[in-house]
Subunit: 196 residues, 2 copies
Amino acid sequence: MSDAHLVETRLSSEQLVQGNFLDVRRDTIALPDGQRATREYVVHPGAVMVVPILDDGRVIVERQFRYPLQQVILEFPAGKLDAGESRHACAMRELAEETGYRARQWARAGVLHPTVAYSTEFIEIWFARDLYLGQRSLDQGEFIELLAMDPDALDAAACQGALTDAKSLIALMWLQKSQSGQWPLTWVSVPDAQQG
Amino acid sequence: MSDAHLVETRLSSEQLVQGNFLDVRRDTIALPDGQRATREYVVHPGAVMVVPILDDGRVIVERQFRYPLQQVILEFPAGKLDAGESRHACAMRELAEETGYRARQWARAGVLHPTVAYSTEFIEIWFARDLYLGQRSLDQGEFIELLAMDPDALDAAACQGALTDAKSLIALMWLQKSQSGQWPLTWVSVPDAQQG
């Protein structure tokens, strides 16, 4: 099935901002009917999210002030890919840096796109278990509070509007689907020597 | 419980871009420890998503080329709030414009934040049922293909990586949770005369 009736084609591209954090572009495009239009969007390196599961079934989540929303947001650990970094290496690094935990078992769940209208960002979803604690090393300017929560408490938070972060709602869904056997995960072992 | 150990405070703000679509700011802030930092982010008016349920249980979804990702994305109908528009009015308008459907029953499910790191955007989630067809009126430059899908097929698509749009994954979760009775919805009737 051809999608030619939907596809937009780049004619030219300009960079509107190269900030400390955001890279914003404006492209002139041809619509499927040949008309011209512009598309403005953020170029993002991609990110990973980790769902860290403790031996007692609780999961590690974070409370972090998210400046654009002017509120503390409950979310799973996540972070951007460094240049040339594999997604799994990024998952291991972000888990270690943000929480101090390392994991001896990892499973790749899937990918989500948080903002299809105006960002190239993808977030790859990883599960981590058989956790052990090591050194934590937050980035400069990162202030993160850690919590261990029962998945049922997270479910209640989502239902009541206290868990609104999109990636984390999807993490909760994937956790419940995997635990019910509907969306099975494939786990791989990572030796301690390969941990950060 | 005070969150003073997490909160960041605005010191100054500048607009980096006022595009056709994107409004990008850079604020200088004080971190919780008093150090300075910058935060760059998109100012967004907010949006709504609609989960339209047909009488036979299928849901209306869309296939749309999302330029930043350079691919056709499967997603639930959604759109940005117009200035001064209520969220419910926006939900009714977007459903009508993008799909042609009107709904005699509506339920507000919740709110999600797609991009907590760099956008003020929220998406309010609405469910719509008791649907009937009227006029469709896509925006200039909008090319959208409509499908009616069984929720089980959407679930399979999500598990297999063919449904990656964050808001739509959350819509699927909310649909399943509401249908199982775990996350009940409160429906309100809207007379035909109030439809667009």
